[in-house]
Symmetry: C2
Subunit: 109 residues, 2 copies
DNA sequence: CCTCGGTACTCGGTGTTACTATGTACTAGT
DNA sequence: ACTAGTACATAGTAACACCGAGTACCGAGG
């Protein structure tokens, strides 16, 4: 992914993480690893932790500490009702954007 | 569109405008009006003009002054080769994102 | 005449976000 | 003791969309 990706990820990355959490609860390190697996190779760890702190402060997720066998305790995030609502809104905006861009791409030839 | 849209537009708006310019040359006011027609009701004029100045300075577009019958002269923007390349890169990143999000959305049910 | 609305572009300041780089801390294996 | 892997946090930076205001040019109605 090029440098444009940095700007394009703004707002979207949050939606991606919330969508991941809507599938099942997860902790930061796990989410970072999952993103890397999915091709987001150059997303820095710090970015994810900062994002998680943000959505925690906005109370879109519930947090629970869980011990780890191989390191410091994990912070497990669970999407709550407010977060689900926010995610729905994200999908609406995302759909709107994809529709517009689809049109533009098709109109291009 | 909700408040999330502001962040989600970052980077994407630039791609949208470049895509519009790839269809045919246009000037700022025209682009703003076009966006409003396409449903982007709350995009501020100032945002578009600032964006146009940016892509001009990065030499993604060629600029030409053209007189208007009903106001100050227009600045007509034309996508150049460098801009087309940048737009291609945008589409690649966009496709990547849509694919990932498609998976996440489907996995959700 | 001159104000008003539509056309057309510019600019300074603000908030949010992802990135970089660094630091802390716990565990297991060598 | 050292290293690597796990797990989280934070201070500083750059980029971008937004807001508000301003400039300027034109035609029509009061």
């Amino acid at each position: 992914m090029g440098k444009q990706a940095t700007e394009m990820l703004k707002g979207v990355l949050e939606g991606i993480v919330l969508a991941m959490l809507s599938l099942r609860p997860a902790y930061g390190y796990e989410i970072t690893a999952g993103l890397r697996d999915q091709g987001f190779r150059d997303i820095a760890e710090g970015t994810i932790y900062a994002l998680l702190l943000r959505i925690e402060q906005r109370q879109l997720v519930d947090v629970e500490k869980a011990p780890s066998e191989k390191g410091p305790p994990r912070k497990v995030y669970t999407l709550n009702a407010q977060g689900q609502e926010y995610l729905d809104e994200f999908w609406r905006t995302w759909s709107f954007l994809t529709e517009r861009l689809e049109e533009l791409r098709d109109g291009g030839k």
